[in-house]
Amino acid sequence: MSSHESDPRPLLLGGPALGLRLLVLAAMAAGLMVADHRQHRLAAIRDAVATLAYPIQWAISTPVQAFDAMRKSLATKTNVEAENVKLASDNLVLRLKLLRFDSLEQENQRLRAARESSARAVQRTLVAEILRVDLDPFRQRVLVNKGTRAGVFRGQAVIDASGIFGQVTRAGPYSAEIILISDPEHAIPVQVNRTGARSIALGTGRSGLLSLPYLPQNTDVIVGDLLVSSGLGGVYPPGYPVAKVTAVERDPGQPLLAVEAEPLAGLDRVPEVLLVWFDSAIVEPEPEAEPEAAAQPQPVTPAPAQAPGDAPPQAAEPTLPPGDAR
């Protein structure tokens, strides 16, 4: 194999042998694609490839992370002091908020018990580090360093400290791929925290932008509204912040609003995320609540005045969709 000059085989390649090999290999590739796309039958091959790829991905990611850590540890004293002051004041604010939290949670549980609905709060979380590798630049996906060995499963919700991050699309033994809420193939059921209006937020492929294309013209939504997860669909725990509305375009010629929102989670910034386990009971719509929600597009435009009267369940309990009760 060291020298090809004295190779006795014919000089010109090609002919039937090469074409035949192309056909066979192409057919194998096509078979793989169909199997992978249609049936998701290739879990074993996927796991094997992911396991082989992991050490290399880890080897790429680690120096980058080490460099970041080094830069942080070399931060100047003034920076650290300033950060400390900020953290102390943040801590004070959070503690003040927490003072009422215990009693509110108790009250919430009593009320839920009275309504016979389960709490569906997050039960367990696991911190996972994001590997610093770039997957497809036009899809919003990241790789984390926890896999099925740590109990991660497909469809698991992922959050970070400020909001919903995404969900697990593929879990290998040691790593998992997460699709961000900003991926163009991702959609998350949300509701406007202020009014309870429900919709779906679609990813756009840009990490700072979600779009809500399915809100009717007369929906009460304004710039600055907080969008929280509605919990419909059962993938995400309800009531967690998702995004803030940044633009509402009311074009009277269009049947629907063009609403843009900015995700709250640090999709392209955070180094670690939380994988969450919660009681993901399938949410079944309450029989009498659903028609009302379907009739949500109210005939009269001044929605703020109209909303409390028209949709009492949403108005009464903004963070809890009517379909939540079981």
Binding site: M1, S2, S3, H4, E5, D7, R9, L12, L13, G14, L18, G19, R21, L22, L25, A26, M28, A29, A30, G31, L32, M33, A35, D36, H37, L42, I45, R46, V49, A50, L52, A53, I56, Q57, A59, I60, S61, V64, R132, V133, D134, L135, D136, P137, F138, R139, R141, L143, R170, E177, P184, E185, G205, D268
Partner: protein
């Protein structure tokens, strides 16, 4: 640019070059530069096809493509298919391409890489998640521009004892 008098190439070097190309595909870049990332795996496959199609022809292209699919987390088999197709064309036209002057060689490589990207685009569309962002085509001319550099480096590496 690849007439090394004697090519000394063991499987160890093939694996090293393949792993480096795969790693270069996922090494983090600033977000603005990401679309400009050259397709190193395709360049490596083409180089091996032009160098020694009997040893590292279509089968190598297929395996490298499958590894790339696993690495990038896309549909299994799509890079395997597209790289095998361009490897076939490269193997067919190998003697002509090797005789071309560098600029013309880059032009042929550009055409092959464009075919590769077009097939990927087409497969994405059939699979139901087309990426219509025009920036996906940027990597094609960038990769072709990288061809003389990559081919030169590989030839040096191959000529080393």
């Amino acid at each position: 640019m690849m007439h090394g008098t004697r090519i000394n190439f063991g499987w160890g070097r093939v694996v090293v070059l393949t792993v480096i190309a795969l790693a270069a595909t996922v090494v983090p870049l600033p977000e603005l530069l990401e679309p400009f990332r050259p397709n190193f795996v395709a360049l490596t496959v083409l180089w091996f096809c032009l160098l020694s199609p009997r040893l590292l022809g279509l089968s190598y292209a297929w395996i490298a493509g499958l590894a790339l699919d696993g690495f990038a987390g896309v549909l299994l088999g799509q890079h395997a298919l597209t790289l095998t197709v361009i490897a076939y064309v490269a193997c067919k036209l190998r003697l002509q391409i090797r005789a071309f002057p560098p600029l013309q060689q880059s032009a042929v490589i550009l055409a092959l890489l464009w075919l590769n990207e077009f097939l990927l685009f087409w497969i994405d569309g059939v699979a139901g998640h087309a990426i219509t962002d025009w920036r996906r085509w940027i990597s094609v001319p960038v990769s072709a521009a990288f061809w003389p550099l990559v081919a030169g480096l590989y030839a040096r590496y191959a000529a080393r004892r």
